[in-house]
Amino acid sequence: MPQSAVTQRREDAAHALDSRDASFWWDLIARILVFTGGFSVILFITSIFIFIAMQGMGFAVNPSNWEQFLTSAAWRPSYEEAPQYGALYLILGTASITLCAMALAVPLSIGSAIYISEFAQGRSKEWLKVIIELLAAIPSVVWGMIGMLVFAPIITWLFDIEFGLTLLNAGIVLGLMAAPIMTTLAEDALKAVPESYREAAEALGATRWQVVWRVVMPHARPGLSGAVLLGVGRAVGETMAVLMVAGGSIRLPTSPLEPVSALTATIASEMPETAKGDEHYQALFTLGILLFMITFVINFLADRIIRGRRSKR
């Protein structure tokens, strides 16, 4: 006999249990569907890049365009004879607004995070956290409106200038927009410092302030840097508020009281004026590629820093 009876019966029993009944097939279907969902996320992020690259292809593939793009200050797409697409002032505009916003937001956010995490107690702590969370929920159009209708008059009155839609206005608005995220992330970073460190420092006689300054903050430095970087990423990518508030004038920012323009706002304001496929349209999509790469790098760096430079060998 090829097999013993015992083995045969064991095989029959195993076969009976391994029945391909309805529940098996449902499980398989579910597995496939769910995997599709998970894979679709990768699909989306790559197709974002692909589609933008596709639409900007004509412009972006030409290397001479890139040289002009990054170094020329003349952005005159409607110049009839020779339209120029120098994005330098736009890049500088984005950079200066972000700088102004960070100058405002970084001290306030990290200071608030330190206060919430180390000094505040009980109810006031809860309230503070709730208000900051609600702050984060305010949509960007509303911020734009506030900048236009509330901050602008204050700025014109305070500095005695004509127009309130300036670099400073955009900086304040962006700072207030990025602050909640930075505060929440910074607070997480501070909370991640082990309690034993604080206790050890206090046992050696340090005051709360000394504990925070000399023990907690150095240990939380990667997390805090990551928080700041993500705030920068938010500020760089913000569109509506900057569109409504920064003034929209493409020039070199020489003072905070002058209007500037940013990458995001330029794309948003000029896109309705283009026709699908023409050079201006492609140039705007190329700006989009640039923006995508900048925020991608920022997010990547932030992630690396927060994880403690594990791969920076």
Binding site: F24, W26, D27, R31, F35, G37, G38, F39, S40, V41, I42, F44, I45, I48, F51, I52, Q55, P107, L108, S109, G111, Y115, E118, F119, A120, L128, I131, I132, E133, L134, L135, A137, I138, P139, S140, V141, V142, M145, I146, L149, V150, L176, A179, E202, G205, A206, T207, R208, W209, G233, G237, T239, M244, A268, M271, K276, F285, G288, T295, I298
Partner: protein
């Protein structure tokens, strides 16, 4: 308490002074009284605490002030007519009903598209995926998708849905764009609530012979329902406030009520933008009233999700 660390008889770093001075000092001070050094440290701490408190207030107070201004200047504009009539006279008069309806349509369609995909992705990540490069890539993709600027999403929507898939500028294209944009929110919230279900529940189900899917469907999902709901509410609140992604993909400043999913529509967020930038000489309360409506919707949704989260924490039976 830090007082005990400098138990030196109250003489500080000076060491022994002259005899009579030492006796006076020992009589006048006690070992528990603060030294000059300690006083300085504590003053520094009080200063630091006050400074950080000030920073937190500087963040919070302007916001409350802004909200106050919004309510003060916008509330006069809110009325039943405001919510139920159409705008006329270059949008200077009348209400915002088409914008409200348009936002509802956009949000619903975006939810229909993003919810199945997002929940499926979260179930995959939480229940099926093993820790390999594919899973790590998916996680990286989620984080990056969340970090893409809204204008880049708008460009993607324009290129992919309006032109490539030939939807034209329509509710469909705009909702697809919004769905891609807000998917990370749903995925992360769902995944967290799925992972909060204790492993023991699943093991009990498996030991009774249930397949993985049966376990998910009958044990895991029902127990994480409120977490998923929180994620949905958060997604909706984000969708309602977005303007850039719908600006060139389906929303228009002034158009008729949409009859189908292929029509353009007005939207609340875009309406606020157009009232601020495009409408000439609007009545003073109009932009504030529209902004107030938008903020009320967003804040209500967010408060709902916070309330849900707190209820969750209380209701858990494990």
């Amino acid at each position: 308490m830090s007082d005990f660390s400098s138990f030196d008889g109250g003489q500080g770093a000076k060491g022994q002074g002259s005899d009579s001075g030492a006796v006076e000092q020992m009589v006048a001070t006690s070992p528990f009284q603060r030294t000059a050094h300690e006083k300085r440290s504590l003053d520094k701490q009080r200063l630091a605490k006050a400074a950080f408190h000030l920073m937190a207030l500087l963040l919070v107070v302007p916001v409350l002030g802004i909200l106050g201004v919004l309510v003060y200047k916008g509330a006069p504009g809110l009325s039943w007519e405001f919510f139920t009539t159409e705008p006329y006279d270059g949008m200077r008069k009348g209400g915002i009903m088409p914008a409200l309806v348009g936002t509802v349509y956009l949000t619903l369609v975006a939810l229909v598209i993003s919810l199945p995909l997002g929940v499926a992705a979260a179930i995959y990540l939480s229940e099926y995926a093993s820790d390999n490069w594919l899973t790590r890539t998916i996680n990286v993709a989620i984080v990056n998708l969340a970090g893409v600027p809204s204008i880049v999403h708008a460009l993607f929507g324009l290129g992919a849905f309006v032109h490539f898939m030939k939807f034209g500028t329509s509710i469909l294209a705009a909702s697809c764009t919004l769905a891609v944009m807000t998917m990370p929110v749903v995925i992360v919230a769902t995944r967290e609530s799925l992972q909060a279900v204790p492993r023991a529940f699943r093991e009990a189900s498996w030991s009774l012979g249930a397949t993985r899917w049966q376990t998910i469907r009958h044990v895991v999902l029902p127990n994480s329902g409120s977490g998923i709901l929180t994620g949905i509410i958060l997604e909706v609140s984000r969708t309602v406030g977005e303007t850039a992604p719908i600006m060139f993909t389906g929303a228009a400043y002034y158009t008729m009520m949409p009859q189908s999913i292929f029509d353009e529509t007005m939207a609340l967020s875009l309406h606020l933008y157009s009232v601020c930038k495009e409408v000439t000489d609007p009545p003073e309360h109009l932009p504030f009233a529209v902004a107030l409506t938008l903020i009320l919707v967003v804040l209500t949704l967010n408060s709902l999700s916070i309330w849900f989260r707190m209820r969750l924490r209380g209701k858990k039976k494990w």
